[in-house]
């Protein structure tokens, strides 16, 4: 009897011991290995971006030295992550955040003061992070600067009721760096009249680079008993329209009454997860690929229907080239 008990105890210990996690030492080598392994097992766009992570790891590992400073290690690790060309991938320490924010190198294509002064005349209304106004020619304008700003359904009713009589609506999400995807659903649901395919999402099921689940198609429903706007809409976007904003633009672009004007968005179609290294640095990375309604992953951005930049000459005379084009498109659709 006691032999069986001993055997059962050993078996239980074996079962639990089989699944111990690796513990990396808190030194340059250990932290580097932890970072490389976390990315190797969780990052979702290696093949999409044609990145040979083994080669990248070998190249940067060769630069490790046992006496390197914390700053030197941070820079080395940050440079390695930049090889992924991913705005969602950051190494976060108490003193710095490594980043690949390529949109900073493109024309900004947005000037808040220019719009507020010459189009909204500093007389705009604002609620739930949305700035709104009726422009000349009876065109509605609403700017949503950040998808982290919670949108109340009641607030949105006020905004869209106020703009309901307008012949067209401009939604300005230029330089909107993203936020919560639930706010994307809240906003898009006001511009659809029926159940609409919003895209698909998948996730990794294992540690292999291509261990993805079958993409799950998801749909948005029109919000019941709330105000909707189904007249022509122009969405203004630029390279700073990133992450959740990129997702918003991709979905809106698929709607028949919507025209996307401006520049290609900044992309960022992987839902980011976070992990950490033994020294307490955190690493954020793209984890769950999200495709638009067309089935395409827009990691490098969503192209506009009409490409246009903000011209300096127009700015000098108080005009927003992109906003003017949006008004022109909406007037033409009347």
């Amino acid at each position: 009897m006691s032999r069986y008990l001993l055997l059962a105890s050993c078996l239980l210990l074996l079962l639990t011991a089989c699944h111990d996690e690796p513990e990396w030492p808190n030194n340059a080598q250990g932290n580097f290995d932890a970072l490389w392994t976390i990315m190797d097992e969780h990052y979702s766009f290696f093949d999409y971006k044609d990145v040979d992570w083994d080669e990248v790891g070998a190249r940067y590992r060769a630069q490790l030295t046992s006496n390197m400073t914390s700053q030197e290690l941070f820079d080395l690790c940050g440079d390695m992550l930049k090889e992924l060309r991913d705005g969602h991938t950051n190494l976060i320490a108490t003193h710095d955040v490594s980043r690949y924010w390529i949109w900073e190198q493109y024309p900004e294509n947005y000037n808040e003061r220019l719009v507020n002064e010459n189009y909204l005349h500093f007389d705009y209304r604002q609620t739930s992070g949305i700035t709104y106004y009726v422009l000349e020619n009876n065109i509605g304008y609403m700017r949503y600067a950040n998808f982290t700003s919670g949108i109340g359904e009641g607030n949105l009713d006020h905004v869209l009721s106020y703009l309901a009589a307008c012949d067209g609506l401009i939604i300005d999400v230029r330089s909107n760096g993203g936020g919560y995807l639930t706010n994307v659903e809240t906003l898009v649901s006001r511009f659809i009249g029926e159940r609409t395919l919003a895209g698909s999402i998948s996730h990794k099921r294992g540690k292999g680079h291509n261990d993805f689940s079958k993409p799950y198609l998801y749909y948005f429903e029109p919000t019941k008993n709330h105000v909707h706007y189904l007249k022509p809409v122009v969405v203004l976007a630029n390279r700073g329209s990133f992450s959740a904003t990129n997702n918003f633009v991709a979905i809106m672009k698929s709607l028949p009454q919507v025209t996307v004007v401006g520049d290609t968005t900044g992309g960022g179609s992987g839902l980011p997860f976070t992990s950490e290294l033994p020294n307490g640095w955190r690493v954020r990375f793209s984890s769950c690929p999200i495709a638009g309604p067309d089935g395409e992953i827009s990691e490098f951005g969503t192209a506009p229907d009409m490409r246009i930049d903000l011209l300096d000459a127009d700015v000098a005379r108080g005009h927003d080239t992109m906003l003017d084009k949006a008004v022109e498109i909406l007037i033409a659709k009347q």
């Binding site: 990794k204 099921r205 997860f273 033994p278």
Partner: protein
């Protein structure tokens, strides 16, 4: 003897025959006192959840527990039923001391145990029997982005046992008890490897429920306590250990707690108008 009392005695005799136990067969009323214990634990907690981080967090955790034990109606000298409800909170820090994870659990366990008194020694009482356990909670890591929380939920059936050694400390009754609960099979929740809760929110509920067995989940709660009776009050001190492991979808969860237990409680029973005040009442716990 009233008709009602005759029925009680008859029921007691039938119960004895059915369960083949040495139940009370004389005219002694079978009272079934309730042992109620309230406990507070404090101790070390180790928390690892690879959905959130590959780093093990450590900290000081606390628990509030309640235990309700009573012999059964059908075979009072042979079977005991026990209900235990716990709420546990383990804030734990990483080794770099720059982040805290919060592990919170609410658990209810109900079981019945067959009792053997004086089987190997007059002072020893052994109990073993089936139990069912429902546990829910989660681990929250506020520094993360879309993997900010790991929800925990499981239901299982298994075994629990207790060994009680009764002695005295001076004139005060003192008992030492070892108690263990071991789920064997059940159902538990886990997202897939890198599945986001946003995807679950969108409606993808596939592969979230898992059949739990010792091949993917091991869970043991055990305690060793000393109960000292001071009149109608029982004081408890002891040690409690919870070991929880799961490994599914390439995700590992390890939660270990080692706690110091203090508790207070007592035995309570309700006496109806037909009970004889002179009847002896003997504790079975």
């Amino acid at each position: 003897m009233t008709i009602r009392l005759r029925h009680r005695v008859l029921a007691a005799i039938l119960g004895c025959a059915l369960w083949n136990t040495a139940a009370a067969t004389d005219s002694t009323e079978v009272v079934r006192p309730v042992l109620s214990m309230f406990m507070f634990d404090v101790g070390r907690a180790h928390v690892l959840d690879t959905y959130l981080t590959p780093i093990t967090y450590r900290g000081v955790g606390v628990r509030l527990g309640y235990e309700h034990s009573q012999v059964t109606k059908f075979a009072p000298s042979a079977w005991l039923r026990q209900l235990a409800v716990d709420i546990e909170y383990n804030p734990a820090r990483n080794a770099a001391k720059n982040n805290t994870m919060h592990d919170a659990t609410l658990q209810a366990r109900f079981g019945m145990m067959r009792r053997w008194e004086g089987l190997f020694h007059p002072n020893l009482q052994l109990m073993v029997g089936p139990m069912t356990q429902l546990r829910g909670g989660g681990i929250y890591n506020g520094a993360n982005s879309n993997n900010v929380v790991s929800v925990k939920a499981h239901w299982a059936v298994g075994a629990q046992g207790m060994a009680i050694w009764k002695t005295h400390w001076g004139a005060k009754p003192l008992s030492f008890r070892y108690n263990a609960a071991l789920p064997i099979v059940g159902v538990f929740f886990s997202p897939e490897y890198d599945e986001s809760y946003y995807e679950i929110y969108l409606g993808n509920h596939k592969h979230l429920a898992h059949c739990g067995w010792w091949g993917n989940r091991f869970d043991l709660t055990q305690s060793l306590c000393a109960d000292l009776r001071l009149g109608g009050t029982i004081l408890r001190i002891g040690y409690r250990n919870r070991l929880e492991r799961s490994w599914v979808n390439h995700l590992n969860t390890h939660i270990t707690t080692h706690s110091f237990v203090i508790g207070i409680g007592g035995e309570f029973f309700t006496r109806g108008p037909h009970y004889n005040d002179k009847a002896p009442v003997k504790s079975v716990y």
